[in-house]
Symmetry: C2
Subunit: 155 residues, 2 copies
């Protein structure tokens, strides 16, 4: 890719990314029930798909410090949506699991969120969708390999 093409795409990416990020987040916020924030939902969704995860794993996945996760987890435990389960094999570790209510709520909201995203992307034809998602996943891969949020910088 030559330089001017790259610059053009960067500029357009910034613009589109901003719009999508802000708008989608607003739609998600409106979709949430009274008692749950978007971040809290993303947390229970993560736990639902990654059974017996831990605070440290969540901190890595969400690219935030562990104390942020403690705060979110505490709120979710208070709401009765998740439980802290000490791990028998390593007594420093606390495994996180959904309660049945958390399970039910997460499933319901995941469906609603999928509908919402579906409404956005059903406009594209299958080939366009396939090409788009493949590049988008490549982008995610690039970011997974770059040192985002790693505590041990290379310097």
């Amino acid at each position: 890719m030559d330089k001017s093409t790259l610059i053009n795409i960067i500029r357009r990416y910034e613009q589109a990314h901003f719009t999508i990020e802000r708008r989608l987040n607003a739609l998600f916020r409106d979709m949430m029930p009274e008692e749950l924030t978007v971040d809290q939902f993303l947390t229970i969704r993560y736990i639902r798909h990654n059974a017996r995860t831990t605070s440290s794993e969540l901190a890595d996945a969400f690219c935030v410090g562990k104390s942020s996760i403690t705060a979110i987890i505490t709120r979710l435990v208070d709401k009765g949506l998740i439980a802290r389960v000490p791990a028998p094999e390593d007594r420093r570790v606390i495994c996180l699991t959904l309660t049945s209510e958390g399970e039910r709520l997460s499933e319901t909201l995941e469906e609603k969120m999928q509908e919402l995203i579906g409404d956005c992307i059903r406009h594209f034809d299958a080939e366009e969708g396939r090409q788009f998602i493949e590049t988008y996943e490549k982008l995610a891969q690039v970011l997974l390999q770059s040192p985002a949020g790693e505590e041990n910088g290379s310097s």
Copy 2:
């Protein structure tokens, strides 16, 4: 697009979107100088490219309430990066402009951010980049037309 293809893409979009959003945000955060947050940078960048904007316009663009914008603006004024300029033609309106320091800082950071995004997307060849950005912009268009954050819901 048939149903199973759509469902497959939705699932993959959710996953990739989460990764990209979180990782990119962490990279942006690390890039920021001590005295500025990502949201504050996005605000001065918006003002730089939309001269004499207002709180209401920012609230629309960022999909948040006006009181959030007031808070951010106040912090940026305190840091000497932007100025509140009363509009002569309508005395309810306050126009926002960058100070020369805000201008300089925003420009510097925009360049750094473009480099960072460039590092992520230079992996793609020109054709893939072109196709991706076109679909991505279509998605942004869909979201601009949907009622995200609108106060006057259709119901």
